[in-house]
């Protein structure tokens, strides 16, 4: 470590306080590349918390990143509720058929207990290992699916939109169950050693619902849920837009907002300046066919527009870098952050 070089934890905490750290923090949210590092299939990799912890340690060392991100896969929580997960050899485990086919069954739905759920305990195991390993120098980022977005996987999107608009009784019951679960699950991760929690809430994005509906639903749920999570949160819209609700997001109590590549990073930074730290917004899908030269240019541009003044963490825009993105590109991202991200940012 060079003289005056911050630890990852110091770097991230400094940028979260809207001050300039030694350089731009890099959250390389490569959830599946650890399987490659360990020579395992994706299914085997996610079968044990120990594998994911080891994978994250190797990714952090290899690409000199600033966090551990023991996120397994999107349908993890629905799996805890009894849902089906489908594995593939080259992508994230995906949700199978929706868990609830008859909406009337929402009335009898109960939340699983974290301590009784094998899949959730695997995640806690990985966080505990990372906590020991990090010695509080590297932030560990836990993940929850918001109570408001989880029903897409529980019911399917169509049924969910139908009950959101026409069956407030079922919607309210589902939110109650999901909220209770989400708070317990987030706090279990904090207790296991997570530094902060990513609150994935794509349904709240302006890509999916209008501002008025967000104000009546996702916003209220975020305010009440985030208040009960015993740690900092980062609200992630998983590639969805958020500028139309930019004035509301700081009121939810979140500290970070993860934004879409479809939104202009300069406008985003301006909208959240000194209010929320911006995380983003490299295009993960396109990244698959970037060259190292393109990568260098894209990262440089993002840093120059969003990094001055702090309050910025470089990351992809979806919270899950595709398995197909090459090591060469990931190295290029890391090199570019170290090359252009040292403060003060020099514009060219």
């Amino acid at each position: 470590m060079k003289k005056n070089e911050m630890t990852s934890m110091e770097r991230v905490l400094t940028t979260l306080s809207h001050k300039e750290p030694d350089r731009v923090p890099l959250f390389l949210l490569a959830t599946m590349h650890g399987a490659k590092e360990l020579g395992m299939s994706i299914k085997e990799y996610f079968s044990k918390g120990e594998n994911v912890a080891e994978g994250q340690i190797r990714i952090n060392l290899k690409y000199n990143t600033d966090c551990y991100y023991p996120f397994f896969y999107a349908p993890l929580e629905t799996e805890a509720f009894g849902g089906e997960v489908i594995y593939t050899e080259d992508g994230p485990p995906n949700s199978g058929r929706p868990l609830i086919t008859d909406i009337q069954k929402i009335n009898s739905l109960t939340a699983p207990k974290v301590k009784d759920s094998e899949v959730l305990l695997k995640v806690l195991k990985s966080i505990q290992i990372l906590k020991k390993h990090s010695k509080d120098k590297i932030p560990i980022i836990g993940v929850v699916m918001s109570p408001f977005s989880l029903p897409v996987l529980q019911l399917g999107f169509e049924k969910y939109l139908d009950i959101m608009h026409f069956r407030k009784d079922l919607f309210n019951h589902l939110m109650k169950v999901n909220q209770e679960f989400c708070i317990d699950w987030a706090n279990a991760q904090i207790e296991a050693g997570a530094t902060a929690i990513t609150y994935f809430d794509p349904v709240s994005s302006s890509t999916i619902i209008p501002r008025k509906l967000y104000l009546e639903t996702g916003f209220q749920i975020a305010v009440h849920t985030i208040a009960q999570i015993k740690g900092s949160t980062a609200t992630h819209f998983a590639s969805g837009n958020c500028l139309p609700i930019a004035d509301l997001l700081p009121q939810t109590g979140t500290a970070v907002v993860a934004v879409s590549t479809e939104e202009d990073i300069s406008k985003v930074k301006e909208a959240f300046k000194n209010k929320l730290t911006v995380l983003g917004n490299m295009n993960g899908i396109e990244m698959r066919r970037w060259t190292p030269e393109q990568t260098d240019k894209i990262v440089k541009d993002l840093i120059q527009k969003a990094a001055p003044g702090g309050g910025f963490i470089l990351s992809d825009n979806h919270g899950e870098i595709p398995f197909q993105v090459s090591d060469e590109v990931l190295f290029a991202v890391s090199e570019a952050v170290h090359k252009y991200g040292t403060y003060p940012i020099i514009k060219s």
């Binding site: 489908i86 593939t88 080259d90 992508g91 994230p92 995906n94 949700s95 199978g96 058929r97 929706p98 399917g156 999107f157 169509e158 939109l161 959101m164 608009h165 302006s206 890509t207 999916i208 619902i209 209008p210 509906l213 590639s239 837009n241 500028l243 139309p244 590549t261 479809e262 295009n283 993960g284 899908i285 396109e286 698959r288 066919r289 595709p322 398995f323 197909q324």
Partner: protein
């Protein structure tokens, strides 16, 4: 046929406030200006295309596009039932979600196309390459609309296309991976890509004209 711009504005307002009875009144009222298929193609389709375009530019949300499509589908089914010979059902067209169960994109497009006077087969979700190859060949599908959410599924459309080279089916793709990488549809060998339902109506209309 008379200009329908006033009706399009009114229908758009009714759809965005989810006022189904008002939407129905506007469509029924416009029947004096054209045949049911003209009303579906020009008034309803025109309005849904405008709503789709507004989503594309970030001015509307997907839930509004979805609800608008569902309302219009119900209204049009009343004046143009599925069995009505005026519906544009040739060449044979089908829609499916490839490899996963995220069905919303397919549902939006299915409603939009049906509300625009087209008839198509809904193959559902979770279909594999082998299943789709069998269906396309047995049912002699000429236009296959595929919705995908996951990047690996999008990449496997290349294999599907190769397995269908001995047919004359045209594959039109849509979904998040294609929106975020606008070159991807060409890489996988698709015949077209719709970023939204508005794009899809244009592509399907053109293909229908070419193939019929």
């Amino acid at each position: 046929m008379d200009n329908l711009s006033l009706e399009i504005n009114a229908l758009e307002r009714a759809l965005l406030t989810m006022d189904q009875s008002q939407a129905e009144s506007i469509v029924i009222g416009a029947m004096t200006k054209g045949t049911p298929i003209q009303i579906a193609s020009e008034l309803v389709s025109g309005t849904l295309q405008r709503i789709g375009d507004s989503w594309e530019t970030g001015n509307l949300a997907l839930s509004q596009v979805y609800m608008s499509g569902i309302i219009c589908e119900e209204v049009i089914d009343k004046i143009l039932p599925p069995s009505n010979p005026l519906r544009k059902n040739q060449p044979k067209m089908a829609i499916a979600v490839f490899e996963d169960y995220h069905l919303l994109g397919k549902r939006i497009l299915y409603s939009t196309l049906r509300a625009s006077g087209f008839e198509l087969i809904d193959l559902g979700g979770g279909l594999s390459t082998d299943q789709l190859v069998e269906i396309v060949k047995n049912e002699k599908i000429k236009i296959l609309l595929l919705s995908v959410l996951m990047l690996p599924s999008a990449l496997r459309i290349k294999e599907l296309k190769l397995n269908l080279l001995d047919t004359d089916v045209k594959i039109i793709v849509g979904g998040a991976p294609f929106r975020f990488d606008t070159e991807l549809w060409k890489e996988v060998g698709a015949d077209g890509m719709g970023k939204d339902s508005s794009d899809a109506i244009e592509i399907v209309t053109k293909l229908m004209e070419e193939k019929s």
